[in-house]
């Protein structure tokens, strides 16, 4: 992060909360449909401030997520780096999309992210066994508009740039 820019700590805190929400215990019925919080917050910051949050940060976040979740080291790192790359490529168009269209795109990106995880699981001999594996894509899609509005207002309030 460069010294000129401000509000790096807002980004840090938002990501911290995303990590907490990922670890927070949920009841069994809701556990399978936990939104991919870290991926969603990352998508927002990559879209809003692509010069600040890039592939490198995404990759490091993924590595931390791997450690937190007890996954194979590099699994989430790969998924998040690819998501960051994709969002940064299209960030100018993405900003102008209506919220519904953004949600759909986020849904597709989460599906892609889950696909990588399932592919890694398949290689390890533990492929996903039920269709509920894909639920995070739907829950992330549903929650995206709220997350987008909240993060945008926070960004404007604190002049994060």
């Amino acid at each position: 992060m460069s010294n000129k820019s401000t509000g790096g700590w807002i980004i840090f805190i938002s990501l911290l909360i995303a990590f907490l929400l990922t670890a927070l215990p949920l009841p069994v019925w809701a556990d399978d449909s936990r939104p991919a919080w870290v991926a969603m917050v990352l998508i927002y910051w990559c879209m809003a401030l692509p010069n600040k949050v890039g592939i490198g940060i995404a990759w490091c976040l993924g590595l931390l997520l791997d450690v937190q979740q007890g996954a194979l080291l590099g699994q989430n790192a790969l998924g998040l780096a690819l998501i960051a790359y994709f969002v940064i490529q299209i960030h100018k168009r993405f900003r102008l999309f209506p919220l519904v269209q953004q949600s759909c795109l986020v849904g597709f990106m989460i599906i892609f992210y889950l696909l990588i995880a399932s592919w890694v699981g398949g290689i390890m001999g533990i492929p996903p066994q039920t269709w509920t594996y894909w639920m995070p894509a739907i829950s992330s899609m549903v929650l995206w508009p709220w997350l987008f509005v909240i993060l945008r207002d926070i960004r404007r309030q604190y002049y994060v740039s």
Partner: protein, 282 residues
Amino acid sequence: MRIVAFILASLIMMTVDHRQGHLEKVRSALSVFVYPLQYIANLPVTVTNWVSEALTTRAMLMEEIAWLRDEQLTLSSKIQKYEILQAENERLRKMLQSSKKFDERVLIAELLAVDLQPFRHQIVINKGQREGVYDGQPIVDANGVMGQIVHVGPFSSTVLLLTDPTHAIPVQINRNGLRSIAVGTGQRHILQLEHLSNNVDIREGDLVVSSGLGSRFPSGYPVGIVHNISRVLGEPFVQVTIIPSAQLEKNREVLLVWPETSPKLSADFESAVDDADTSARL
């Protein structure tokens, strides 16, 4: 083109982590940053427990104490018998020149209420390298074997439960000593016994205990109860499902076990001691 570098780095890391396990140190170092997060995520549960403890009434405490006293009495009467049996068993084994250790060091660890990857059966406990926890260490609860340690950090470690599809444990039927391997299925509360031929002597309700082969788990801890046996004509093996004895999802506290020594080592040690004994007597 940086993305290509990151993709390559991820692929290499995944391969190395899966095949060799050289990255345990990296994981352990990174877990120092992750542990505070997990600690905070666990806080609501800790606070709730603390509040409910603070709000217990005197009557409830009295009741609990009475119950604990009863339990203590029954357990200590059982232990008297157990000690006599253990002494007898050791004497008999000494006569037979075979050795077996019963004493294991244990340490109580608390679960952190945090969620890990869905569809994997893993839990996080609040003991790590500082307390001497090591990779592959067995974990038990009051009722039976729970699983083993897979990742150790300085302050916390990750436990792979028996029901995880990548977990297997060598077991035997307590009634007749029939050996097998209990493999996790990925479903909650169900394990499967592998490689038992169609004509073996096994019944519903049989107790399955750890056999201690492979010298990772100590022998003689309950693993589960045989739940269902289906013999299909034409299939080489009988399909046996067992229900784990340990309460894999209800525990707040678990026991870390340090097995005394590996079986081979203790046998050598015992024969050396025996030799010394006989020479002293001569």
